[in-house]
């Protein structure tokens, strides 16, 4: 069990970015141009005084150990260094300092369809891509039928892939990758493709790979996939490891980094407010039932999301919309404004305040993030879309009148509805009921 597959010690990667764009990689002409420009500005043409070099560390001092059979997720915001880290571990790029040891054969899936060539047939591409990803020809021949079946494209196997629909292409490409069987598999964001049914198939396949004692390192923005597949998650921010531990814990702490916690957002200057020449967003607020702005909401209470919209151009049927996400960035629901007064009616110029009422005992105990959007459905047009505009936390109280009843532990789930439970008491009788009970335990 204690057998290390990947050991990273202080891995770092540095890029030099210089404001002058002179990093020694420009063409000769670019360099001469720069020199000429400096001459015009009466500076020494080859001097260094106007070079401002900046260091950029996409990965800095990253250390961790991954053992046999572990399936580890790597999360972090865009630009946190996830992909660079994977590229270092898969030897695509060199670290600037530090060291990693890898024990076993590595397979890398950083892209769907690595090595695919559009002119070649599905059959040819299975071999080509498989070999590029590190399989042996004999291995591919052995798994060929399985790959074709997984992709579900047997009829088109001898058609050039440029004639495939994008769905077919992605299925075939993923099927090849999914049949890689290295001891260590490094996967970057390739599950975010295909239809949901195929995605599920891919997830199952990945789960399978993990269960077969292989080590998997997995980057995805799909946190549901991460928490489902990985017991352990490493979170990167600015190139550093900021959390490493049990998946659920890291996902919720890491993802709330940078998430706003504010009950309102207002734009006083109309010209910079989100929107276009039809409508602009003046304000969004979380309001309790007694009209206070809040960023903490009692789980039992009904509360409102309030939009204040300035309509600048008459004649448009506008539909405000709430998009509510959990702190783990899973969408809980989307809701359109269905107010019958304005639903199909063009709005005159003026200011509108719309409230979407969210019932009590619907959301669960956690932080929530909201996007505000306003669209016209026909013709379709997005007036504004503001991401993460609000953040609020729903809290529960142990008073016994919420959905948790008298239970005091952690509860799972994105929603926590208070269901109506009914219980019938069936008085004890001889014969029939005992038999039914017995049948129940057998099955």
């Amino acid at each position: 069990m204690s057998d290390v597959r990947i050991r990273a010690e202080n891995l770092s990667k540095k890029y030099m970015i210089s404001v002058n764009k002179d990093d020694g990689s420009g063409s000769l002409a670019e360099r001469l141009n720069d020199a000429a420009k400096s001459l015009v500005r009466l500076r020494s043409p080859f001097g260094k005084q106007n070079l401002v070099k900046e260091e950029l560390w996409p990965v800095k001092n990253v250390s961790f150990e991954i053992r046999t059979g572990e399936v580890v997720g790597i999360i972090g915001r865009n630009g946190a260094g996830k992909s660079t880290l994977l590229k270092i571990l898969s030897r695509i790029t060199d670290p600037t300092s530090g060291r990693a040891q890898i024990f076993g054969r590595i397979g890398t899936l950083l892209e769907v369809g690595t090595g695919f060539h559009p002119e070649l047939t599905g059959r040819d591409n299975i071999y080509l891509s498989g070999i590029i990803l590190g399989m042996k020809k004999a291995e591919i021949s052995r798994k060929f039928d399985e790959i074709v079946e997984f992709a579900g494209i047997d009829k088109f196997i001898d058609t050039p892939v440029k004639r495939y629909s994008s769905g077919m292409y992605v299925r075939l490409a993923f099927a090849v990758g999914a049949h890689l069987e290295p001891e260590i598999l490094i996967v970057d964001e390739v599950l975010a493709v295909g239809d949901s049914q195929f995605q599920k198939k891919c997830l199952d396949k990945m789960e399978d790979i993990g269960e077969h004692g292989r080590t998997v390192l997995f980057v995805s923005h799909n946190l549901q996939a991460i928490t489902r597949l990985c017991k352990r998650v490493i979170c990167l921010d600015n190139g550093k490891v900021i959390a490493d531990g049990p998946a659920n814990q890291v996902v919720s702490t890491c993802m709330s980094v940078g998430a706003p916690s504010r009950g309102f957002k207002e734009w006083t200057d109309l010209s910079t407010a989100p929107g276009d020449d039809v409508a602009r967003l003046r304000a969004v607020r979380v309001k309790t039932i007694d009209g206070r702005i809040a960023d903490v909401i009692d789980i039992r209470q009904t509360f409102a999301i309030e939009f204040e919209i300035e309509v600048l151009q008459p004649g448009w049927v506008l539909t405000p919309k709430i998009e509510l996400y959990s702190d783990t960035r899973e969408c809980i629901f989307e809701s359109f404004d269905l107010d019958p007064d304005w639903r199909r009616r063009p709005r005159p110029v003026g200011r509108y305040v719309s409230r979407g009422w969210i019932p009590g005992n619907l959301l669960s105990e956690r932080a929530h993030v909201m996007n505000a959007r306003c669209v016209s459905i026909d013709p379709y047009r997005v007036m504004f879309k503001v991401q993460d505009v609000l953040g609020f936390r729903v809290v529960d109280s142990p008073t016994g009148d919420s959905a948790r009843g008298d239970f005091m532990g952690d509860m799972l789930g994105l929603v926590r509805p208070m269901l109506k439970w009914t219980t019938e008491f069936v008085p004890r009788q001889e014969g029939a009921n005992i038999k039914r009970g017995a049948a129940g335990t057998v099955s």
């Binding site: 069990m1 057998d3 891995l11 890029y15 990689s25 063409s27 000769l28 002409a29 046999t68 059979g69 590229k87 270092i88 571990l89 898969s90 030897r91 695509i92 790029t93 060199d94 670290p95 600037t96 300092s97 530090g98 060291r99 990693a100 040891q101 890898i102 024990f103 076993g104 054969r105 590595i106 890398t108 950083l110 892209e111 690595t114 090595g115 060539h117 002119e119 070649l120 040819d124 071999y127 080509l128 070999i131 590029i132 990803l133 590190g134 042996k136 020809k137 050039p160 001891e183 077969h212 004692g213």
Partner: protein, 295 residues
């Protein structure tokens, strides 16, 4: 009972893995410091990839053409006709006693192979930038496979050469046994030059603009349209610094019984080419881990 089962299930494969891990090959990732590194083992392990990349290029290249592989013949044939008219009929260049079309065609094969390989391989890393930024394999596989692709064209064009020899009544004799040696030599020269250019081109795109000019000049510095005997005696030493001179003379000698290239010249060429190739491989391998950052 159920718990026992589960434990066994967990322990079973783990034990197996632990045993095998002692035999696992280990990869160390760190900033590379090696100055001289050929990575012959890495190339050998990727021989299937080498083959498949070449196969892909061939298949894709001719997938949409109508006459397909016949293009491999059209080009040297057309050049031969033009050169025969210009240099033999108009300029009256000598040809070592061999019919001029045959004389020039026998040189156009190795020359064409060389110049096309240079073209393909120098750009190969940049052309495959998408691939090399997504998966690791020894990058040297890419220019090597690009050099191998040309061998197919060479083989096809060679068949035409045999037909032409039959037409002109030139019969090959024991010298023809040396053809594989000269072929190996031209492959090595192409590869050596290509590796340098491919690695440099990633960084200095100027090479792309200079290439057509350089290859054209190189052709006239090589006895393709004229015999080497035309070069004045006192400049021969300089002339023979061009490794292609010996090879092309060698081809003509082995096939057409033209005057043989001096043995010591060939020896110098071989040593020079091996040196250039080893240094090229090492330089390329040293640069390869920076490619992705620079492309």
């Amino acid at each position: 009972m159920a718990e026992n089962m589960r434990q066994m299930n967990i322990e079973g494969p783990d034990e197996a893995v632990e045993h095998s891990s002692r035999l696992l090959h280990q990869t160390v990732i760190e900033p590379s410091k090696r100055l001289f590194y050929l990575n012959l083992r890495g190339i050998w392990e990727c021989r299937e990839l080498l083959f498949f990349l070449a196969w892909r290029d061939l298949k894709a290249r001719y997938a949409q053409t109508t006459i397909g592989f016949a293009w491999a013949i059209v080009q040297p044939l057309a050049m031969m006709l033009v050169f025969t008219v210009v240099f033999s009929n108009f300029a009256k260049l000598p040809s070592d006693g061999v019919p001029y079309p045959l004389f020039v065609y026998a040189a156009l094969l190795p020359w064409g192979y060389f110049s096309k390989s240079l073209d393909r391989s120098s750009f190969s890393i940049v052309v495959e930038s998408n691939l090399i930024s997504k998966v690791y394999f020894p990058r040297i596989i890419v220019p090597i496979s690009a050099t191998f692709v040309g061998l197919v064209d060479f083989a096809i064009a060679f068949l035409l050469l045999l037909m032409m020899m039959a037409f002109y009544g030139v019969m090959p004799s024991w010298e023809a046994l040396f053809i594989p040696m000269f072929l190996l030599l031209i492959v090595m020269i192409s590869l050596a030059v290509s590796l340098w250019l491919a690695a440099l081109f990633v960084r200095f795109r100027d090479i792309g603009a200079a290439m057509p000019l350089v290859t054209q000049m190189w052709m006239f510095a090589t006895p393709v349209v004229y015999p080497a005997s035309l070069v004045p005696e006192q400049w021969r030493w300089l002339y023979y610094l061009n490794p292609l001179v010996g090879v092309i003379e060698g081809f003509r000698w082995a096939l057409l019984k033209a005057p043989p290239p001096g043995l010591e010249r060939i020896a110098v060429t071989v040593v020079f080419v091996i040196g250039l190739l080893l240094l090229g491989m090492s330089y390329f391998n040293r640069m390869e881990r920076k490619f992705v950052d620079v492309i």
